[in-house]
Structure formats: C-alpha cells, structure tokens
Amino acid sequence: MTRLLLVAWFVAPLVALVLWAFADSWAAGSLLPDDWGRRGWDGAAGAGLWLALWRSAVLATVVMLLATPAGAMAARALVRVGARLRAAAAALLLLPAVLPPLTVVLGVDVLLLRLQLPAAIGVVTILVVQALPYTTYVMYTTYLAHDVAYEEEARTLGASPARTLVRVHLPLVAPGLAAAAFLALLVAWSDYVVTVVMGGGLLLTLPVLVASNAAGTGNEPVVAVLSLVAAVPPLALLVVLGLLGRRSRRQPVAAAIRPRPPVAAVRP
C-alpha cells in the first residue's frame, strides 16, 4: 500500500505532464484533455527546444568531465590525510552545497565581469564548484571501501603506474565514478540560477527555457513538452546505470560447484 502511494506520488505529476504535452486544449474540470494534438511540440520547437537541449547536453557533459575527476582526486587525497585535517577539508569541500547558490553566484559574477571572461566559462566554473561536493562525497565513500593493495599487487606483477591506473584502479572504482558523474551531470542539467545570472540570460539552456515559458500563461502544452524533454535524459541514464550496476554485481551460478583437489594429508 505504502509502495503504491509512493509510486503514485512520483508518477502522478509525470502523467499530467505527458497528458499536457499532447493536449491542444484541456479545460479546467475535465478529467482528460478535450483536444489532442501537436500544438505543444510545435510551440516548443519554435521556442528553441532542440538548440536548448543541445546547449544543456554540452554544458552538463563539460561540467561532468571536469567535476568527476576533480572530485575523485580530492576524495583520494581526503582518504589519505590524517583524521584532523580530513574534517576541515571535508567541511570546506561541502561548503558550495551548503551556501545558497545565489550568494555565491552574485559574488563571483562581479569577479568574472572584472576579469572579462566569457559568460560560458563563468557558468561552467561555478557549476563545477557546485557539483564538487557531490562527486567528492561519492568518491570519498568509494575510496574508503577501496583497497590500495590491489594496486600494489598490480605493481609487483609488473604493471607500470599508468597501466595500474587504467587496468586496475579505474575498473575497481568504476561504479563510484559512474554515480559521481551522474550527480555532476544532474547538477549542471537542472541548474537555473547560475545559468541565468552568470549567463546574463543569453545562455538559453533547457531549464532557462522552461522557466521563461512557464512565466507566461496559456502555453501549458509547450511548458509540458519542454519539461518532459528535460526529464527524459536523466531518467534514461538512471535506468542504464541501474542495469549496468546489476550486471557487475551478478555472480555466476558456478559458485555452487567447487571442485577441490584431494586432501593430501592432515596436519598433525
């Protein structure tokens, strides 16, 4: 019962969204839309949906590619430093997640204007900083469970540091890296405040487009289409990651069969 309620809690808004995306008109009080059609899709395309989707994808990918390795390296360092230093460093790293984004953004905006850097670089920089607490935290727990002895073993078996990194270290922490990358992607994908303020309203990403369209009235189908398109990629990624995770945890049935060589002797 609880589970059903939970599912309803998550699914109900999506259902409304999907219905609105294909509704040409939906009078208040009707259970279902009165007219079905492509008005929402045409409107969204006209508002620049596909370009915004592309911009969001590029922005999220860039932020992910920067924040994930940076978080991993910070986490690895955190695991290695002493306990006292670790608490202070962890607090510092979590700061961007604690501070209201607007405070940070307004301050940095002034700085970047003085430095005369392109707005896009400012957006990426701030979003990387905002994603860092999440990537660092995920990688920190990954590295706490990670055993350096695997890498030491690889070295004594003749693997160079580079080979050890690629063939042993990265495969071992891959699940953590995937989770961290996903979170970094989400931070950038769903950001509105930083993009608007730093981008000066010129960097039209999907959330910015959604917000500007939602501000008006009467274009619910357009907003629904934009929101739906914004929601699908993360959901799809989540499903893919889940499937990959399940595959790597799978244990072959062979575990049950354990042929052992005959016992030679019993210890006196």
């Binding site: 055993d147 002895a149 695997y150 030491e152 073993e153 690889a154 070295r155 004594t156 078996l157 003749g158 693997a159 160079s160 540091p161 080979r163 063939r167 042993v168 495969p171 071992l172 891959a174 790597s248 244990q251 072959p252 062979a254 575990a255 354990r258 042929p259 052992r260 060589p261 016992v263 030679a264 002797a265 019993v266 210890r267 006196p268």
Partner: protein, 377 residues
C-alpha cells in the same frame, strides 16, 4: 649469496616519536631457497617484505636481487612478485585474465599471455576454472589463482605475506603441499612471512626470526628449533619449557635435576635458562637410569591424539607432550628422559625480580614409585 635476494641494513621508522618498525635488518635468501620470516604480529615482518618489494619507499637500506642493486627501482621492475594474505584477484577479470595480467604487463599479446596463464593455472591444478568469475571461487581456489598469477610474472623472488593464514587447516595443508610441489618444479627464490612456526618449518629451508623489528636469528629450520637464540625465539617456535638453573661441567642443574647439554653448548657456564622442547621429552620412572629430571604431575590433558603432562616444582613448571601418558595421574612423581638435542641453554634474562638462585636446591627424589608411572612412551 649474490644470485639470491639480499637485504642490507633495512630500517623503517613510521613516525619520529615511535620506535623503528625495522632496525638495521640484514637478510640473505639464497637463489632457489625458501626462507620463512617468522615473528609475532607487529614485529615488522610485512614491512620488511614490502621494503624488499619496493612498496615502502621510505625504508632505508639496500636491496639486491641476483646481484642487481634495486635502489630507486620501482616495484614493477624489481623482478619480484608478491602474494598477500588476501588473494586480491582483480574482480573485473576472469581467472584466466588475472593470471594473464603479468604477461600483458610485460608486453605479451593477449593470446600469448593467456597461453602462459593456462600453463600456470595447470600448475596449481585449476585449469578447469580458467573462464570463471574470480568471485565465484572458494577462498582456497582464490589463493591458488593468486599464486599462479604471481608465478606468471616469472619473478626472480617470490614474496609471500602470510598467504595461507586466512585458510582453514585442511586447506592450508593443501596449499603448503602445493607450495612444496611448486618449489620442486620451478625452484623460485621465496621469502615467506608467517607467524606460524609449523608452517615455516613445513615449507622453508631456513627460518629468520624477527622480533621488535630486529633480526634475532637466521638459521636452518632444525637449528632454529634446536638452538634458539633466546627465550622469545623458543616461545615463537611453540616452546613452553624454560627451566631456570645453572650450567656446570656440561650439565644444566635445575630444581628438576641435571641434564647433559649438547656439545655445542658445553662451554657455557653460570646461571642459565634451559629451553626444553616439550615434544621430545619421554616419561619414565623416577629412578630409571635415563631419568634426568624428576617432577610431580599436576595435570594430564589431551591435545589431539597426544597427551600433555604438566609438572611443577616449587618455583618452575615443566610440560611434556607425549604419545600416551597412560596411568599417569596428578600427584604422581615421574621421571623424564631428556635427549640432548631437545635442550639448549641461554643466558638468564635480566628480569630481576624473577631471578633464580645459581645453585638450585636439591630435587626431592621420591623413595617410592608411583603405581603405573613406568609407562614410558
């Protein structure tokens, strides 16, 4: 010794305010031989092994392998492979590709490396499991794969860090037998860390004893047993008997009686602790000509198929492990035949309070035999 593994002056200090983990350790392992590095936990055994492998860059001293000085040589170019207590098989690779890992690292093609891997898997008796996921193997199988993987690196020295400590006794015996077979076939130079003297004596040619970061003794296995360098070594080798007394005219005198010493120890004199291997003592009647020691039985306990007889005098204890102690009961007075190779005198430790008079009081020899105490084994 130049063709084997040679450690010189290895010193490792983890923090300035702590005692050194290793102090000036010199150790030679002849090519093709196996030395067991024996010591209590925390004695620095693993650190020494890691220093040899190049995994402790901060360790001072020099490491040579086959005449090559390994200063500043990274672990992957040292020609040593290490097997840890945990198998540490790479979980993302199959059994075959784990064993092929060293070959791939050495630049072999995938196919060539896998052919090699098959050979080494065959050697450890696991060729049937090549395609398996390593997580599907039992603990013993995993450690076999780890051994095969280390051998596949064609190491000039094989370093084993308590490789069988996590296995149950039957499995451990299997692995020891396997290691002996591998030694016969491949003749690798082996340095094996262990805290188990039985494991050490089962596999190794020599035992090096490390206590508090210092190499206390390094000798052939039976020499370490027969002539331990001190009480700590004796205890580490499972010895339980330490009789305080004094050496005079090639005999050791204690509260239990007089024991002839081995030739190598006859020149000792003065206060001395006699270390006695409990498993070599034989029970007899107190006035039997071979009864060097006479003692009163306190307890008789079973240990596996053998029996452990504990005896005491006023100030010291004596334990004998015999095949059978039929009829011996607490309170009985028994004689003990002590072979000369079962004893070794060492200077009295300077503990102070527990000192023993140089001349022990004469042992009270009983007039009457215990009823069935002549069941000497």
């Amino acid at each position: 010794m130049t063709s084997g593994l040679s450690l010189r002056g290895i010193t490792r200090r983890f923090a300035a305010d702590q005692p050194a983990a290793l102090t000036d350790v010199d150790l030679d392992v002849a090519a093709g031989s196996c030395t067991a590095l024996l010591g209590p936990s925390g004695s620095g055994k693993t650190t020494l092994l890691r220093a040899a492998a190049g995994l402790e860059p901060a360790a001072a001293g020099s490491v040579q392998l086959a005449g090559r000085d390994l200063a500043r040589v990274p672990p992957e170019r040292r020609g040593m492979a290490m097997v840890f207590q945990r198998p540490l098989l790479f979980p993302h690779l199959t059994v075959r590709d784990n064993v092929a890992f060293p070959g791939r690292a050495a630049g072999l093609t995938r196919q060539h490396a896998r052919e090699e891997a098959a050979r080494f898997l065959d050697l450890v008796g696991l060729s049937g499991l090549a395609g398996r996921d390593v997580r599907a193997l039992s603990g013993g199988q995993q450690q076999r794969v780890a051994l095969a993987r280390a051998l596949a690196a064609h190491p000039q020295a094989l370093l084993l860090d308590e490789p069988f400590a996590a296995l149950d006794p039957a499995l451990r015996q299997e692995m020891l037998d396997l290691l002996l077979e591998l030694r016969a076939v491949l003749e690798p130079t082996v340095l094996m860390v262990t805290h188990d003297h039985e494991e050490a004596s089962a596999v190794a040619d020599e035992i090096a004893v490390l206590i508090d970061g210092r190499l206390v003794q390094h000798d052939a296995v039976d020499t370490v047993y027969r002539q331990p360098a001190g009480v700590e070594v004796h205890r580490l080798l499972g010895g339980v008997n330490e009789l305080p007394g004094a050496v005079r005219d090639g005999m050791h005198e204690s509260a239990f009686g007089r024991v002839p010493l081995p030739d190598a120890a006859r020149r000792a004199a003065g206060p001395s602790l006699l270390l006695v291997r409990h498993e070599q003592l034989r029970l007899t009647v107190p006035d039997h000509p071979t009864a060097h020691l006479v003692a009163t039985v306190e307890t008789v306990r079973q240990r596996g198929g053998r029996q452990v007889v504990s005896m005491a005098s006023e100030r010291s204890r004596l334990v004998a492990e015999v095949a059978t102690a039929d009829g011996v009961r607490p309170g009985d007075v028994v004689g003990l035949a002590v072979p000369t190779e079962a004893v070794w005198p060492v200077p009295m430790p300077r503990s102070g309070s527990d000192s023993w008079p140089a001349t022990p009081p004469p042992g009270q020899r009983p007039d009457r035999l215990p009823d069935q105490a002549d069941a000497s084994s």
